[in-house]
Every structure is written in C-alpha cells, then in structure tokens.
C-alpha cells in the first residue's frame, strides 16, 4: 500500500466513516466545493453531496450548536474549525452546552470538532494556536492530538465513533510533511492510550503533536553526542490522559521532561507535573522539567516565532541538565 500524508490520512478516515455510517456528516466554512482551507475535505462533496458536506456561514457558535442538536437526534457531526484558533468563538457552546449535555440532561452528544492547529508555519497570532489546555480542564470533553499519519487516521475514526464529544487537533505543520503507510483493515486507534515513540532508559520526554518529532530529533542527537538513552512518550490523547503509560515511563527512567508547543502557564505540562508528583514522587531522581513556548502570543516573523517556540536545541539542552542532575 502506498504511503499517504497526515492530511490525507484524516481525509481517508472521514471518507471511510461517512461510507460506513449515514449519520456522519461534515459541516464547516468552505469545506464543500472548495474542499476546506487546507483541502482536508477535498472531494467529499462529490461523493456525499451537499446535504452531508455542509458549507456553513461564518458562525462557529452556530455550527457547533447545530452539531450538538443534530447529535442529540442521533447524527454524528464532524465540525471543521477553519483554523483551530477560532474555536475560542465556540468556547461557550463547547464548555457550557456540549460538555454538560450528557451529565445534566442525559442527552447524547457524539460529535467531533476538528481543525488545523499549531505553529512553526509563520501563521502569526491567529493561525498558529494550541488551545488544547483550555479544553482538557472541562469535564465532558475528550481531546486528541495525533503526531503521526497512522494515528491521524486511527484517532479520527475513533473520535467519530466515540459516544462523547471529541476535540480533534490536527497539526498543520505535519499535514504534508509526514507520510506513512496505513495499517490494513479498519484502523482505529483507541482514545486514551499513549504511544511509546522511542524506547530509552536514561530519561523520558513526554510530549504530543509536532513536538514529538522535536523530541525524537533531540533523542538521536543525545544518543550520538552524549550516549544518552532517551525515551519518548507520545500522549496522543490529552483527555483522558494515559496515566498508566506516564507512570511506566517515569518509573523506568526516573527523570522526566515535559515538552509542548503550547505556552507554559496553565499548559498541560503543569497538570502532568502534578500527576507525576502525586503518583510517582518516590521514583523521581530529578525535578520534573518543562520545555514549552514562552508566555506570549505567537509572533509572525521567523526570528520571533523560532525564539518563542520550543526547538530541538532547547530539548537537548534541558535533557542534558536533567541527565546531569
């Protein structure tokens, strides 16, 4: 089987799920005839028609709310945020309405909200965001953020089939930069399970999305130059978190770095630090360290963006200090 990109893997998942289940439909801005700003939904309208690939007005509240209403009636909507930055417009609908629907009203709300996320693409403050931490705080939402093409497909299929609302973050830097051959058959990646991206014994890097690749790059350099054996855990799911996988790597290497592209304060690394402290304090040989973006809006100029976002060199530097502790 031929290799396909991360972006094509998402499209393949949408296509297969829409073929499989007539209740699945897509809704979003410019997703139909135009095929979406990044062409993720390209061609879907030709196969499934405009009833199931709905070009919507510019209305994030409107389409997330409409998706919730449709989900109550037994549909499985997939909503595209043209850029995930715009999900902020639908924050009320997601956190107040969707997230609470099952708990307060026993209303099923199986829906996916997906969209291009993340930086390293010179997108500036409103086309580069990583707003995932703002949603893992809300009980009732699930959050996934794949780093590989295989997981992009497998997690999308899992998200569509899930009976809860899943926020599906797609890293736009990875859209066309990585490729993989898809596993044969009905490839579904379970939500809530992390993936060991690289085995190691000296220290662990826990991360997700595009920075998985920074971690792997750093791990190779550290092995080559320092003889360090670095383990890399790709979380894949941010809500729920895979505590067992986190415990396992922490207790194995006893030194932990948390790495994410999102800003530092209130980021997921803080939550992970607290969990590691509560669950695995006795196994730690060094303080848990964070490598993150600086706490600023993401600027546009390459020199600024590169400075603000975590780079492979940052990972290498912090890993050395962790190993030497």
């Amino acid at each position: 089987m031929a290799e396909i990109t991360y972006l094509e893997a998402i499209r393949e998942a949408l296509f297969e799920e829409m073929e499989r289940d007539a209740n699945v439909f897509c809704i979003g801005e410019d997703i139909g005839r135009y095929g979406g700003a990044f062409k993720v939904t390209d061609g879907l309208i030709d196969r499934f028609g405009e009833q199931r690939v709905i070009d919507s007005p510019i209305s994030e509240i409107g389409i997330v709310g409409a998706a919730a209403g449709a989900a109550h009636m037994g549909m499985r909507p997939v909503v595209e945020m043209q850029f995930i930055d715009f999900i902020a417009n639908a924050y009320d609908m997601l956190t107040n309405y969707v997230a609470t629907a099952r708990y307060r009203a026993f209303l099923p709300c199986p829906m996916v909200v997906r969209g291009p996320s993340g930086g390293y693409v010179r997108g500036g403050p409103f086309h580069s965001q990583n707003p995932e931490a703002g949603f893992i705080h809300t009980p009732g939402l699930k959050v996934v953020y794949p780093s590989t093409a295989e997981d992009a497909k497998g997690l999308m299929k899992a998200a569509i089939r899930d009976d809860d609302c899943v926020l599906f973050f797609e890293h736009k830097y990875l859209y066309r930069r990585i490729k993989a051959e898809m596993p044969a058959g009905d490839h579904v990646t379970p939500i809530g399970k992390a993936r060991l991206a690289r085995e190691g014994t000296d220290l662990s890097i826990i991360t997700y999305a595009a920075t998985v690749w920074k971690a792997l790059e750093a791990a190779e350099q550290l092995e080559r130059e320092d003889g360090l054996s670095v383990e890399v855990l790709d979380l894949r799911s941010l809500a729920p978190l895979d505590d067992d996988a986190i415990d396992a790597t922490v207790r194995k290497t006893n030194r932990v770095m948390l790495l994410h592209e999102d800003t530092r304060t209130g980021g997921i690394a803080g939550e992970l630090t607290a969990r590691i402290n509560e669950r695995s304090f006795a196994w730690l040989d060094a303080p848990v360290l964070r490598v993150t973006a600086h706490d600023v809006p993401l600027p546009y100029a390459p020199s600024l963006e590169d400075f603000v976002l975590p780079q492979t060199a940052d990972v290498v530097k912090v890993a050395r200090s962790l190993a030497a502790y």
Binding site: I61, G69, M75, T100, L107, G140, D162, A282
Partner: protein, 390 residues
C-alpha cells in the same frame, strides 16, 4: 361558535415579508383557533391554570426553604407558552426558556417532575444535577435549556436540520427572550437555520425586561419582529397575552415549517409581572406598571372572559378545571416531598458515555493512602556540613 370567525381583529398582526404567503392575517382564511374543539379550548385553560397554580405552590415551598435554589415565575406570561406549544404536534420538539413552564407542561412534563426538580430530589428528571425547569426529554419532545442565553437557537437549528436531512415530518420551536436576541448565539443560530431552511419556529417573548434591563436598552430596533427581515424570513407579531392569538400566530408558522418553507420569527408581546427570580424586588419598574398589567391584561382573566362570554362555558366547566388542577398539584406535592435527595456518589456518574463513571479522589475512598517513599539512610537529614545562605 358562530362568532369564532369574527375574531380576526384580535388575530396576529402580521408583518409582511416578500415570501410570507401564509401569514395568520391573510384575508379570507379562517383562523386556526376556529378549528379548535370545545375540549381543546378548555384544555388551553387547564394548561394555563396548571402553570399558575404550580408556580404558586412553588412559591410556598420556596418560602419553606424546600426549594433549595432560585425560583422563576412566568406570572402573566402563561398564554404565550401554552398557546405556542399547543400549535405543535406530539412528534415535534421545542426548547423552552425559564418562563416556559407552560410549554413544558403542554409537552408532557409533569407537576411532580417540576417539584422534584426544584427541590433537588434524587429522582428528579436530572437526578439533582440541574435546577428548576432545566430539563428535557426528547421522547416527549422538549430539550432542556442551559443558562447561557441564546445557545438553544443554534442547538435547535441542528435538531431541525436533522429533521430536514432525514426527511422527517417534524418541526422545532425555540423560545428566545427579548434580552437574548442581543447574543451572538441567537444571531448565528437563526441565520444558519434560515440559510438551511430548517423547519424551525423562533419565538421572541418580549416581556419588557431582561433581568432589570428594559427592551429600550436592549435594542435600537422599534420591534424585535423587524429583525426577521435581516434574516430573509417572515416575521409575525402577536398579542402574547391572548392565548388564541398566540396559537393563531404560531400554527401557520409551524405549518409553514412543516411544508419545508423554512424559519419564521414570531414576536409575542407580553409582560413579566414578577422579578427575574423570586429574590428580585423589581425596584427598577415604574410605579403602577405591574398593577396595570395585572388589572387590565392578565392572560388567564382575559381567556376566562372569552370562555364564559364567547364560547359559553359554564361556571362548573371552569371550576371543574380549577378543582382538577388543585388536586393534581396537591397530589404531586405530596409525592415530591417524599422523594429522597440524590446519593452523593451519583455525582460521579455519566459525565462521559465512556468512562461512565469518574473515579473518586483517593482521599474520599476508605482506606486510600498515597504510595509511600522509603527514604534512603540519612536522606533528608541535615548534617551541618553545608553553609546555608540567607
């Protein structure tokens, strides 16, 4: 009954829109309410009376501190809820607001559910998770609201989009207060539904106040129905305190939606005689205003007059309804008061479909202890060898 067709002057005053061929006021058509049987006419009274009596019972329970949260009244607005919900079929779905107890009762919510809900009982429709009339049942055709106002308009656009996609013969109705027409959610929801020609009726209940804010501070528009033109949909304005006028405004809009002709905006003129909630002393209301509405424009008093004079119902017809309502509310109160509070652990159930239950924090589980670290010999003991800087 002969006089029924002569009631056109009381009918909904339609605001003409280019593609509104089915306004309630179209000359020559009999009013929808003229089709209602005598049983149905009396049933409208029953629902309005039940709404008011049930709320009066809730006030008593509130004063006894048995209602643990706030209490929201629809006093003086019973006609707009009952008359509009009455225009729906059983299979249709509506989304009520806080002053639409009457709509919910028409749709099959029961007094005992309402009472248990207000008293936060474990067997209330939300098992004590939500307050007051915030609950729903899609089987009976109503979806519970949430407190952020305006959100139900997009949600109901999605419910009715589904009816359209599946070719189902069903209609949705969503209420919005005068205040919440100012939200982005209202705009996005009604616009989306209009573009998609969803089978949805949007009712703006203009009761004069959003909490303490009068409509003059809510919008510069002369009337809310004017907003319909901006969405390319027909708008209708009707007397919300005349239950038959409400029905006559709503029924054509429901029929129009059912025919696949899309969304209608209806503005119902009414008045909120109580505060936002029971605690609100209404200090912001001009003197005499509430009393004037109570005296001159109470929807139940007005409908009773028509029942007696126009439809020639006897005093015993009416007192039989009153007695039935009283006994139903009494019985429901007795049952609801016996209900137990929710079990605390139920709080962890059902946030997600999977996992179905959240894990209690370890210090809430009996016998739970944090994993203990065996300290190595001498670890953590200061031996005095290092200088501590201050």
């Amino acid at each position: 009954m002969a006089s029924r067709t002569q009631q056109k002057s009381r009918a909904a005053r339609a605001v003409r829109s280019p593609d509104a061929p089915n306004d309630a006021s179209r000359a020559g058509d009999a009013l929808p309410s003229s089709e209602l049987s005598r049983d149905k006419l009396l049933e409208l009274y029953y629902w309005m009376r039940l709404t008011r009596t049930l709320e009066e019972r809730l006030v008593a329970l509130y004063r006894q501190t048995k209602v643990v949260g706030g209490l929201f009244r629809s006093l003086g607005q019973e006609a707009d809820s009952v008359g509009s919900a009455f225009a729906l079929e059983r299979r249709d779905i509506l989304s009520p607001l806080i002053r639409n107890l009457g709509s919910m009762l028409v749709k099959g919510a029961t007094p005992v559910e309402i009472l248990r809900q207000y008293m936060a009982k474990g067997d209330s429709p939300t098992r004590g998770r939500e307050l007051n009339i915030h609950f729903g049942d899609t089987d009976r055709g109503f979806i519970g609201q949430i407190s952020p106002l305006g959100d139900m308009v997009p949600v109901m656009s999605g419910v009715t989009l589904t009816f359209k996609m599946r070719g189902e013969d069903r209609v949705g109705l969503v209420y919005i207060g005068d205040g919440a027409t100012s939200t982005g959610a209202f705009h996005e929801g009604i616009n989306f539904a209009a573009v998609q020609r969803c089978p949805l009726v949007v009712i703006v209940e203009n009761n004069g106040y959003a909490y303490s804010t009068p409509t003059s501070r809510q919008t510069a528009a002369k009337q809310f129905v004017d907003k319909a033109a901006g969405y390319g949909i027909p708008g209708v304005r009707a007397d919300g305190n005349d239950v038959l006028a409400v029905y006559d405004a709503t029924k054509p809009a429901v029929d129009r939606a059912r025919r696949g002709e899309g969304v209608t905006l209806i503005e119902l003129m009414t008045y909120r005689r109580k505060g936002h909630a029971e605690h609100d002393n209404q200090s912001y209301v001009p003197a005499g205003e509430i009393e004037r509405w109570e005296k001159e424009n109470d929807p139940i008093t007005r409908y009773l007059a028509r029942l007696r004079e126009e439809f020639e119902f006897s005093e015993s017809d009416i007192s039989n309804v009153d007695a039935r309502v009283r006994s139903e509310v009494d019985e429901a109160t007795d049952i609801a008061e016996q209900s137990p509070p929710p079990e605390p652990l139920d709080a962890l159930e059902g946030v997600y479909a999977n996992p179905a239950r959240a894990t209690p924090l370890w210090y809430r589980e009996s016998g739970g202890v944090v994993d203990k670290h065996e300290r190595p010999e001498g670890w953590g003991v200061y031996d005095g060898s290092a200088e501590v800087e201050h």
